[in-house]
């Protein structure tokens, strides 16, 4: 190894430098947040309500609101996403116009800036449907946002199921419904879960789409029609609008990062599970 570096041309040194630079920058960011945030986190911080506009107190209601927004988002997007993925993967040929239309829309949807989702959510859910600034508005907006991720993983999960199963089932005269529910979906579950977890990761990271859909109110929400402040908005508000809010902002940022890392670890573990499933035990493929 050492010798190789000494012999290496400039290009090799450059490549290693960039890798070190990138790793270093990210270590700096995460290190800074952990270093300043870890002192602020306690059981009390996680459970009590914010006081003095968030300068002191905790983030209890904010965690509840975040959880509710996520629940609405995933509760709506998962059935819709899985249904769409099944149609695209199992019932639509590559040349079908409807399938192509849906795929194309999803490709575009995946690239839409979150602030545009925010505008749409505000105009459609909050104003036109009359849901106002509420957890429901925010959750539904996020549901639209995570759909492409969900559908992509669910489709991959279904495509990973060997065709031999489909042929075998059809040759036994089994209906599509029975094949789907008894064979294909069970086999695709790890892929579906990866999509679910990635979707949660995307939703929990979101700020811009929520600013004018779920709103800023930091009180404990009483219903889904109440405004609720998500963790990311809390961090934004504390750092931008509240002088002296940095300590709690650091604490909240660390909580968000930890949640995010946990979600990612789960996704990685699930993806590993699903990839090893057929390779190990199935004769074919």
């Amino acid at each position: 190894m050492k010798q190789e570096i000494i012999k290496s041309p400039i290009s090799t040194i450059l490549v290693w430098l960039v890798a070190v630079l990138v790793t270093g920058t990210f270590a700096w960011i995460l290190g800074d947040i952990i270093f300043h945030g870890v002192g602020g986190i306690s059981w009390e911080f996680l459970t009590t309500a914010p006081e003095d506009a968030g300068r002191s107190g905790g983030i209890g209601p904010i965690l509840v609101s975040t959880g509710l927004i996520l629940a609405v988002a995933m509760g709506v997007s998962v059935p819709l996403g899985v249904g769409t993925a099944i149609l695209l993967a199992e019932f639509t040929s590559a040349t079908n116009w409807f399938g192509r239309f849906v795929r194309r829309s999803l490709d575009i949807l995946a690239g839409v800036p979150s602030i545009v989702f925010g505008l749409f959510g505000n105009a459609f859910f909050a104003k036109t449907l009359g849901l106002g600034f509420s957890i429901l508005s925010g959750g539904l907006t996020l549901a639209c946002m995570v759909l492409p991720i969900l559908i992509r993983s669910a489709e991959e999960g279904l495509r990973g199921v060997p065709d031999e199963l489909r042929l075998g089932a059809a040759a036994l005269g089994l209906s599509r419904t029975a094949t789907l529910f008894h064979l294909l979906l069970p086999a695709a579950i790890p892929g579906l879960l990866v999509g679910l977890v990635l979707g949660i990761g995307r939703a929990i990271a979101e700020t811009a789409a929520l600013v004018f859909t779920s709103g800023y109110v930091a009180r404990m929400p009483q219903s889904l029609l109440d405004s609720g402040r998500s963790l990311s908005i809390h961090i934004f508000d504390l750092s931008m609008n509240i002088s002296g809010g940095d300590t709690n902002a650091y604490g909240s940022a660390l909580v968000l990062v930890i949640l995010f890392l946990m979600i990612n670890a789960t996704a990685a573990w699930l993806a590993h599970q699903s990839s090893s499933k057929y390779n190990d035990s199935y004769q074919f493929r």
Partner: protein
């Protein structure tokens, strides 16, 4: 493998009049779900247009470029400074992030030992998903004060470019990594057997073979940079002025929406939706461009 409707005859009603046809129900339920999913993009465009119309009908597009400045309370709606802000921040970050991202991918594929390469890839994947508000917060409390010491005020185009670079680097690195991964192994072996150096192989064999993937990656990244809101808002100072130096504060289109939407009414609100519609149009154009590049420059994907 798919079940095609026009080829499958649904179980005949004659033979099993008693049995309910679940397959038929299933397909229609799924179709309705997919139709809803597919309609979301249309719905977004429709609502952006509906909300933009009041402004466009009364004033047209002209005021966005000809008004003296941006001051909605006085009825002045010049977008130009924000357009410059978005354009400069995007271009700056893409110019910096593209080489860094591609080199990162080279590192994963060709330079790092396998274990380190995989670890590095995992790290990049993680970074691609870290909440933008976290990057923004770090930029606000660490980066902006640092730049302030160099050249006040600190919150500036430079801070925006740095934060955006950090945020889009993972995207471009992952796309580049994926396109390098698709370069056939025989090409590399062939080049090595001809005695080309590693760097020579990369320049003469890998880059040409991965070209379309890299282009697509850059285009996707441009979209991401244009659309990024919160992190940019937190570090750029948000003064509505065309910057004359890299240390001047800027306001981007997205930040403008996030800052003013909460209290905007009437024409002001409508004007913000016009900028949203413009963003959406840019994203669609970029998606089309990416598609064209993928289709035209890689015959492999077309044939398979």
């Amino acid at each position: 493998m798919t079940w095609l409707k026009d080829k499958i005859s649904s179980p005949s009603k004659l033979n099993k009049s008693s049995q309910f046809d679940w397959d038929w129900v299933l397909v229609w339920v799924l179709r309705i779900m997919a139709a809803i999913t597919g309609a979301i993009v249309l719905l977004i465009v429709i609502f952006l247009i509906l909300e933009s119309l009041p402004f466009l009908q009364v004033k047209g597009i002209g005021p966005f470029f000809t008004d003296q400045r941006w001051n909605p309370t006085e009825g002045l709606y010049n977008f130009t400074p924000m357009l410059w802000g978005t354009l400069l921040a995007t271009m700056g970050s893409v110019v910096v992030a593209t080489p860094l991202g591609i080199i990162s991918a080279l590192f994963c594929q060709y330079y790092a030992p396998v274990a380190i390469g995989n670890l590095y890839r995992r790290l990049i994947e993680l970074l691609a998903g870290i909440p933008s508000v976290v990057y923004g917060f770090w930029g606000l409390v660490v980066l902006v004060p640092l730049i302030n010491r160099l050249h006040p005020p600190g919150a500036s185009l430079l801070a925006g470019i740095i934060i955006l670079t950090i945020m889009i680097l993972p995207t471009i690195a992952l796309v580049a990594d994926a396109s390098f991964g698709k370069v056939p192994q025989e090409y590399l072996l062939g080049a090595t057997s001809l005695g080309l150096s590693k760097w020579g192989t990369i320049c003469n064999v890998v880059f040409p073979a991965a070209k379309s993937g890299l282009f697509t990656g850059v285009i996707l990244t441009v979209g991401r940079a244009i659309g990024e809101t919160m992190a940019v808002l937190m570090v750029c100072g948000n003064v509505v002025e065309t910057p004359s130096s890299i240390f001047d504060p800027i306001r981007t289109l997205t930040a403008n929406i996030a800052l003013e939407m909460a209290y905007a009414l009437g024409n002001h609100r409508s004007a913000l939706f016009v900028s949203g519609l413009a963003l959406m149009a840019i994203i669609v154009l970029l998606a089309v461009a990416a598609e064209v590049i993928t289709v035209t420059s890689s015959p492999v994907t077309k044939n398979s």
